[in-house]
Subunit: 285 residues, 2 copies
């Protein structure tokens, strides 16, 4: 892997090992899984990687104090705070408290602004992962009509800006769009990050569309009678699905990225790219 | 005027007078005119207003040094650096050197990011001026299909984000859009900030469109034979026109904002609103 070779060379030249810090508050299983994957991948490319697991009842002040220590530590090159944080915490304040120079997830408003302005900055992980996935699949972006479903700060909004930077015509739809199908049927490239299972049906896309599903929706698994299934503990069985009715859309699509799979691994790759970019800037290599 | 009453009350309560600093490098006539207007309007609402006119051959270092003084001066509440700067200067570095707390034109990446994220921030002057103009004219935004022509950092891009915040479906077109007319014909609200005279013709809009022209194009005045006219000094006569073929579009539009006129005055109003907002935050009133 390219990043691994680069890091090996810098370290051989006497530079410090890149050091990524992943902070997690509480033990949400999905968060633990994401943090674990990022940690493993960071180590794989030759970074030193630290998971800092803070208890669920950590106060905002305590988290900010730990952040300040990592911000000030010249031996730390990148900091990621895994979302979501427990309900008693203020995620926005946390985002603004990460040093923009170590902000590997592009949470800080200054980095969000730099991306919007087309300036060098850590790239927003999921949106950049989608761009990289399309690039890696040989899909031409320039001049194509891209429709983004959803306008979240983490995915939809920055994704539209990245597509614009790549010379797509970009159209944002969302919950207040009166006729979403009328817009999506024009899409050469359709990316759904709305978070509504089954939002996009086959009749809402045109023949040959490039479709990327970024929805993450946990829905009940139904039995043959259409009733929710339960496990031995009496808990309903759930499954992860995207926003697209996959079979219907796949039938018309020239290319499709499903949920689960698809975008997830590309997101982690962006975090690693950002880690190395932040390291290079801090260490001047 | 509301701002004037507010300022009078704060000053009567013993707070300092809001102080706006307008910096201009060189004596570009258009810049002098804009700065003069902003200065007059700021004084009209009761601000202290200072125009700092620096010579054309000011170095980047000198400008940054002056900026640093205003940034540090607790008696200065807002700073505007009039663009364009002379060619030897780096506008982006200047934008990043204005304190985000005094950045009345929303040039600093941190403020650009805060606007993108929907957080409190000084608003980008021209885009917010357009929103205010539409609001003042009683035009409903929510759920409407808005098309933005142009994706500049100063107008097109932030304007799309403000329209998105107001629940429009938002579509960005630009020079790489293969068939602009196919997109603009769908617009309930069409805003052109592309900077190409005559870009939007009557057949590119639908009946009843709300059309806002933000183009500023200086074109030759032609005589009856279609040849450029010249003045007594032998200089070609120029006029300011927008992006819309006004007569053609006006015939189909339910509402239209022309160039010149229209958006310009609203831009200045946004600068004044921002000045007062920055003052309130700094003085805690």
């Amino acid at each position: 892997m390219r990043l691994r070779r680069q890091i090996r060379r810098w370290v051989a030249d006497g530079h410090p090992q890149p050091h990524a810090v992943f902070m997690q508050v509480g033990d949400n299983p999905a968060s633990s899984q994401y943090v674990g994957m990022k940690n493993r991948q960071a180590e794989k490319i030759g970074c030193r990687s630290t998971i800092e697991l803070l208890p669920e009842d950590t106060t905002q002040q305590q988290l900010l104090a730990r952040l300040a220590i990592h911000n000030a530590d010249p031996g730390v090159h990148s900091i990621l705070v895994q979302l979501p944080l427990p309900g008693h915490m203020d995620e926005q304040q946390v985002a603004e408290s990460i040093s923009p120079l170590k902000d590997v997830d592009c949470f800080h408003p200054e980095n969000v602004g730099r991306v919007a302005l087309g300036l060098p900055a850590p790239r927003p992980a999921t949106p950049q992962g989608i761009i990289n996935l399309l690039d890696a699949s040989g899909i031409e972006l320039q001049g194509r009509h891209a429709v983004v479903l959803g306008r979240s700060n983490l995915v939809g909004k920055p994704l539209g800006l990245l597509l614009l930077e790549r010379n797509c015509t970009v159209c944002y739809c969302h919950s207040r769009t009166p006729d979403i199908g009328a817009v999506t049927r024009q899409a050469d490239i359709l990316i759904s990050a709305a978070g509504r299972a089954g939002l996009v049906t086959g009749d809402m896309v045109k023949q040959g569309v490039v479709a990327v599903d970024v929805g993450t929706n946990f829905v009940h698994i139904l039995d043959d009678a259409g009733e929710p299934e339960y496990d031995e503990q009496g808990e309903p069985r759930m499954q992860l699905v995207g926003d697209l009715l996959f079979d219907e859309v796949a039938e018309k699509a020239s290319w499709i990225s499903p949920v689960p799979g698809g975008v997830g691994p590309m997101t982690i790759a962006t975090v690693l790219e950002n880690t190395v970019a932040l390291y290079r800037r801090i260490e001047g290599v």
